[in-house]
Amino acid sequence: MDNTISTLNRRNFLRITSLASAGLFIGLSLKKETGMAQVAKITGDEGSLDLTPFVHIGTDGTITLFNPRPEMGQGTFQSIPALIAEELEVSLDKVNIRQTGGQIIFGRGQSAGGSASVRTDYFPLRKVGASAREMLLTAASQQWNVPLEQCNADEGMIYHKSSGRSLSYGELAQAASKLPIPSDPKLKDPKDFRILGKPSPRPDIPLKSSGRAVFGIDVDVPGMVYASVAHSPVFGAKLVKYDDSDAKKVKGVLSVETCDRKIGKYTYPAIAVIAENYWAAYKGREALKIQWDDQGNEKFNTEEYTQKLRDLSKTEGLVDKEVGNFEQAYQAAPVRIDAFYETPVVSHSPIEPMNCVASWTEGNKLEIWASTQVPRSIVTSFSKEYGIPEDNVTVHTQYSGGAFGRRLQNDFVIEAAQLSKKTGKPVKVLWSREDDTEQGPFRPMTFSAMKGALSAQGEVVAFQHKVISPSLHDSGDPNFDPSRIDRSMTEGISDQAYVFPNMKNLYVHADFHVPISAWRAVTSTTLAFAHECFIDELAVKAGKDPLDFRLGLIDAKSDTRNVLMKLREVSQWDKPLPEGWGRGVAQYEFFAGLAGYVVEVSKAGSGIHIEKAYAVIDLGTMVNPDTVRGQVEGAATMALTAAIKSGITFKNGETVQKNFNTNQLVRIHEMPSVEVTILTNGGPRIKGVGEPGLPSFAPALCNAIFSATGTRIRRLPFDINHIA
């Protein structure tokens, strides 16, 4: 529990935000008695502050909206403030948007991940906006002595039409702040929305089209020095000794310090060269002579580990979900198929390398500037680590140059904080691309042993998906218990809309000494490939159209059915393709949401060419369709890279790929056009945007390749220019 809430008050809050004291603050109460977020306001200068303020309306008319969700390309800089602005009746170009920095007053939800931002904040933040609007309306109606219903709010003004009077939000802020919070503010009818559900320009786009957006790497602080940090290329090595005499000869190098790289359950030794500028730090670091003790880990390589996972697939494992009697049905069935699917280790590789500026100042205060997905966790973990009040930790959340799960980790932030403490100066740690590629954390390799059985009529009577992989929880938790299932590794395999009368899904844990962490769409990115390609194999065996076959596995009504039906329509599934073409379909539902693809390919020489991809994403409701489309286009690109580029391999204990020359990403000429359709008529569950577009791309592509060539791809990555 956070024990700092009681010490926060209005004055403190004003200091943190440097906003004028006058005006109306509206937010969400942190009190959890009701189990529901309650709209609240700040009252009294010294009264305890028990709310997360999201709106400030100054008496000067400025409107400030606080965005607790870091912007990393997924559009939260627009989508989250839009929730408030819609209800507040003001357009986004008339408000200041402020990114929050992890202080408890801005709530515990200050993070970006799991495609969670909009689906978590959709109703609470609309309520905040609606409350503010209602209070402003009430203040005006009282001032004019007219019924509330005769007043309306529009673009920062309250109007009384019949008398032609109007007052600005700023003029009403003081009076409104004295009113009680409406107990049940009325939310707008979606048909009256002006922002939500409409393609709206993102306020960060002009900054990002002119080099003016400030990313973590762009932060300069007076007196700042630079650090380039050396880590062992072999994971788990111990530092024996190092010689920094040559490093110190490099002009501009100031000192050489050790620090720890802490990631998940691992702590690795690291050596930092501190210099006046980055280039000097980098050159100094190149000149270090370091002796590592590799602890036997230098024998580790991908081939042997692959074989280990294959061998492990023969063990039974832990049960993820069991329905009916799989063994019996499988043995008794006339048709049985088994298949084994493999996916590689891949890197996150946001184009902005890991970096952080940290500065310790007098009074044991720590200031952090970083591109991060988790400002709140930086505040709490550093407060704990150094035994200082949370209030002593200030985080400036910068735009992230991509994240994809990598910036859920604080390893580079910890390095910067340690180095600033040692040098007594603000330190900018900047990892090179080689550091970023070589050191991980990675998406783990995931293998899938599939079993299925059909009746004589081609119905699926038994289904099994057994996952063999290292565990994300194991990498993150020193107390991990391998006798208990880590369900982040079986994500979605038992949650598809398909109904199998007999199903037994399993997980086999594999030890791994390399740090791994969540990647965009986590384990669904690999499991969907096995799951949906195997469904295709069953369809082929049953002699049925793959899309019809899937529909046949689904109960009459479901969001998945809607997605498949929409895919059939937009891709013109039933229309014959030219000679040499093939099309494939896949869908996947998991914690973050639901999407599906139809991919069309044609034979090109000994390889294939991707002609077109049709995506359908099911959201329930949406904020910005243009952002949604962009996210799905991007997810498809990332999925294609993970399917056809090398991925990460290990040799002699080291990561083989060091930079983009060997760890290649899909480039513009390789990317087909992706046509995105958004469904918003789903059930009451609001689904996520950032991740669901990823998992079903690779299986749809591989199913299309099978349809065009008869070659079944069961192992990623594959060479798209040479299909065996």
């Binding site: 320009p201 786009i205 002119s210 962009g630 690109t637």
Partner: protein, 154 residues
């Protein structure tokens, strides 16, 4: 260390740096213009793209000495008010996601359009394949270059 004069966006800057220092770091850490980004350091990602005498170069691989006496243009130098045709198209089509690669993308696109005011898809592939975008904005970049071409030629 040695003192050099760099001409960036028509302004002269004195920098006192290691002659081997890549132009990228001289621009970012000495001239103080942060729009040009670091992504790989080995001319693979294009994030550091600037113009040298109007041609796109990867500033992470160009020693600062190679740029002395030449006209350097960075993202900050293509317009005052974010109103270059390419920027207009980028905003209209909402191209950037994280935005980190986009300075480099825009510099490559501007150079392409200066050379070929009406580029084909093949021209775009050839000119833009050196610029990585991990967020996957390629489809919009392609559309936006066509759109910028329209704006410039109208």
């Amino acid at each position: 260390m040695a003192a050099f004069t760099l001409t960036v966006n028509n302004k002269e800057y004195q920098v006192d740096v290691d002659p081997e220092m890549p132009l990228l770091w001289a621009i970012r850490d000495f001239v103080g213009l942060k729009g040009t980004k670091f992504g790989c350091g080995i001319a693979q990602c294009g994030a550091c793209t600037v113009h040298l005498e109007g041609s796109p170069v990867r500033s992470c691989r160009l020693p600062v000495t190679a740029a002395v006496g030449k006209k350097i243009t960075t993202i900050e130098g293509i317009s005052q008010n974010v109103d270059h045709a390419v920027q207009k198209a980028w905003i209209e089509l909402q191209v950037p996601q994280c935005g980190y690669c986009q300075s480099g993308q825009i510099m490559s696109a501007v150079a392409l359009l200066n050379k070929k005011p009406k580029p084909t898809d093949q021209d775009i592939d050839a000119a833009m394949r050196g610029n990585l975008c991990r967020c996957g904005t390629y489809q919009r970049i392609r559309k936006a270059i066509h759109r910028a071409s329209e704006i410039m030629n109208s």
